[in-house]
């Protein structure tokens, strides 16, 4: 009797183990999806909607925080209501995990039909593997749609050979934000040239205020300074050649020059730049400890949350007279959605994007979230002056220049970020830093083939 009990118990245990093993194996492909906010309910819909006529479109984005997430959910519910044959499975993840997860799912059979993808190298590596759908034919077939999208922004989602692979969801650019009250008190004006900028910084520092709020613990904020400086110090064609991993060399003297200009700014930044995150540094600006912050337009929402009463303005990155680059460029890039080349419903996906990233939805998005998409006229309903001026920055840009850290091949980017971090701490010289970057760029040439 006792022996029997033991036997049953062992078999039971073995069965449980086997089951748990099966569960492990079965769940792994879904793992990325399961982390999203809407993941659970999405899977159920699929089971219920077993009928042939319901098309399930999987959408994966990187905006799990409200108000954006709520806005996306609301819009998708509206679309489902007006298109009974289409059901969405929406999942989302935070920026950093998103970048990793999308790389894993995009090559698998679990690839979402529509997903967020940064423009530039981030997407182009997928294009090299044939994983993104070419949207050009759809734009050609619908000239009205094509004409309704801002050209400067669509250019960023177009490859060198003319393939359009994404439609922008939010537009963004980098500007210097400054504390207007502080500037007025000191009798300062927003600077236009580099020399003026340094004079302004000196005046602020002399008044006992640390001029620039900067936090580079996550390493990308420093890259945005260098990206903007490279635009000015290095000619466009040289940068285009160097940012392409297959031909990148980074031997132009302008790169060293850009580092030197960056070095000039470091003494004006708060203490411990590498020891705090950008968000923390922004608090220094919004609390009035610092006078200037180099930030993205999408951060206006945060600045307003952190200090609604603050009187702030924006100025463009100061021009460096005599530098060989292009002073007209605006640092920044749209962020948008791409369609998988493996999707079973390409037409339906494009149809949805036309509406979701179109003017009508865009105007609501501008008011409710404070972000603009690339459709013309989304600013018409705006009443908030800060958002109107933010929109002007982008609308007036002659040409955008994609984020530096998005433009570079990942290993080159990593080395660049490392060197910027070291330069900020004063541990390397610009020439040594560039030598290290050149070495990694040479290695990347063979990796990217």
């Amino acid at each position: 009797m006792k022996k029997n009990l033991k036997k049953t118990l062992s078999i039971g245990l073995a069965a449980i183990m086997a089951l748990s093993l099966a569960a492990c194996g079965g769940s792994s492909p879904d793992a990325p999806a399961a982390t999203g906010t809407g993941g659970g309910s999405g899977n159920e819909t699929k089971a219920e909607a077993g009928g042939k006529d319901v098309k399930v479109i999987k959408l994966f984005h990187r905006f799990p925080d409200d108000p954006c997430n709520a806005f996306i959910e609301k819009k998708i519910a509206e679309y489902e209501a007006s298109h009974p044959d289409i059901k969405f499975e929406v999942t989302s993840a935070q920026n950093q995990p998103y970048k990793e997860k999308i790389k894993v799912v995009v090559g698998s059979d679990e690839c979402p039909d529509i997903f967020f993808s940064f423009c530039g190298e981030f997407s182009e590596r997928f294009i090299r593997e044939g994983l993104l759908m070419d949207l050009t034919p759809y734009l050609e077939a619908d000239p009205e749609w094509k004409a309704s999208l801002m050209e400067t922004q669509m250019n960023e989602y177009t490859t060198a050979d003319g393939m359009v692979y994404g439609i922008p969801f939010r537009l963004d650019a980098k500007e210097f934000f400054y504390n207007v009250d502080m500037f007025n008190e000191l009798g300062l004006k927003a600077p236009e040239t580099w020399d003026d900028f340094i004079k302004v910084l000196d005046a602020i520092q002399a008044s006992g205020v640390v001029p620039i709020a900067e936090g580079n613990q996550d390493k990308w904020p420093g890259a945005h300074y260098l990206g903007a400086l490279n635009e000015q110090c290095v000619p466009d064609d040289v940068r285009a050649k160097d940012y392409d991993p297959k031909t990148g060399e980074f031997t132009d003297p302008g790169y060293v020059q850009a580092f030197e200009y960056y070095q000039q700014l470091v003494p004006y930044m708060n203490m411990g730049v590498n020891g705090m995150t950008h968000d923390m540094a922004r608090l220094g600006f919004t609390n009035g400890q610092n006078a200037i912050l180099f930030a993205e337009l999408v951060e206006i929402t945060n600045i307003k949350q952190e200090n609604p009463d603050m009187n702030w303005g924006m100025f463009k990155f100061p021009t460096i007279p005599g530098a060989k680059g292009n002073p007209d460029l605006v640092s920044g890039a749209p962020e948008g959605f791409a369609v998988s080349s493996k999707t079973a419903y390409p037409d339906e996906c494009v149809e949805f994007l036309k509406w979701f990233l179109g003017a009508e939805t865009g105007a609501q998005q501008a008011v409710e979230v404070g972000w603009f998409n690339a459709s013309l006229g989304v600013d018409e309903g705006l009443t908030d002056p800060s958002l109107i001026s933010a929109y002007e920055v982008i609308a007036n840009a002659k040409k955008m220049d994609i984020w530096f850290d998005n433009a570079l091949y990942s290993t080159v980017c990593d080395e660049y970020l490392t060197q910027i971090s070291d330069i900020t701490n004063g541990d390397v010289t610009p020439a040594d830093a560039m030598a290290k970057i050149q070495k990694v760029a040479a290695e990347a040439q063979s990796l990217a083939q």
């Binding site: 183990m17 492990c24 090559g107 390493k219 590498n274 701490n425």
Partner: protein, 293 residues
């Protein structure tokens, strides 16, 4: 009469065997194979590159920094977590304090190790923040403003700040493991030693510690292995910075796999971590002569 082979024991072994094979041994072997290829997670193409991944790993500028950081973590953890943790455990099991006091202490020491690593990382980000952080504010308020640092932003200090955070978190865990081991030491031996006139130090050195040797070994091994698998603590604070100053093997592996799409390089790093931890464990087992009393 031929004895009937009893299949039952083998059947029982199968599920466990399949699990261990499928989840441990096969991935280890596949990983070894991958380390000779150049491949990414989304691309179908695989290119055989022989030892090129290893060459790139060993000649990378970051390599000596990573090994140094992992060794620092390992050595400091052995001294603080295992050494100091065992000492704490001895004190908690000694007759110095009341039962109630000991229970409270055990719980206080153990609680940090229950907190998620990411949460601890975030918390220490605040503590170490140069402008608003608790540590610099504290130093200023007690009149040591000259000792204020940028902590995680300082090339020389960053890795030690991270190591300090781990010591705070895991010393109590080792203490608890050792307390359990000490409680298993038969009371007869301790009492006999007392009758023979052995003092508390002698009892600890000659009776309690030798009898808890196996547990001490386990603690040492998990600490060493943990030191070379170090990842979350760095990922949730400096992400290897400033520069590459706090880069470690685990994070390097992860960044190669998911940031640089260089699965081959990540696999090579994985093999290196595997070799280091296995060698260290075998070495420890030999040195401590496990199984002998």
């Amino acid at each position: 009469m031929k004895k009937k082979t009893n299949l039952a024991p083998y059947l029982y072994i199968i599920p466990g065997l399949v699990m261990v094979l499928g989840l441990v041994y096969i991935p280890v072997i596949v990983n070894l194979v991958y380390s000779f290829f150049h491949l990414s997670s989304y691309s179908s193409s695989m290119k055989f590159v022989a030892f090129d991944n290893y060459r790139r790993l060993f000649t990378s500028d970051t390599f000596p920094i990573m090994i140094r950081n992992n060794l620092y973590y390992c050595i400091i953890s052995l001294i603080v977590q295992v050494g100091f943790g065992t000492l704490l455990a001895l004190l908690l099991e000694s007759r110095l304090a009341s039962e109630r006091f000991k229970t409270i202490c055990r719980n206080i020491y153990f609680i940090p190790s229950l907190i998620s690593l990411t949460a601890v990382g975030l918390m220490f980000n605040f503590i170490y923040n140069p402008q608003l952080g608790m540590l610099n504010t504290l130093l200023k308020n007690i009149g040591l403003a000259g000792m204020q640092q940028t902590w995680l932003g300082d090339k020389k200090l960053a890795i030690f700040c991270i190591i300090a955070m781990s010591q705070w978190q895991f010393t109590g865990y080792i203490t608890l493991l050792m307390v359990v081991a000490f409680q298993n030491v038969p009371h007869d031996y301790v009492e006999a030693a007392i009758i023979d006139g052995a003092g508390p130090v002698r009892r600890a050195l000659s009776i309690i510690l030798p009898l808890a040797k196996e547990q001490l070994l386990v603690c040492t091994i998990i600490t060493v292995i943990g030191a070379f698998k170090l990842f979350t603590e760095v990922y949730s604070t400096t992400v290897g910075g400033p520069g590459n100053a706090s880069q470690v093997l685990g994070l390097f592996l992860y960044q190669n796999a998911f940031l640089h799409d260089d699965m081959g390089m990540a696999a090579a790093t994985g093999v290196l971590i595997f070799v280091i931890t296995v060698t260290a464990s075998i070495f420890q087992l030999k040195v401590s002569r496990s199984g002998e009393v």
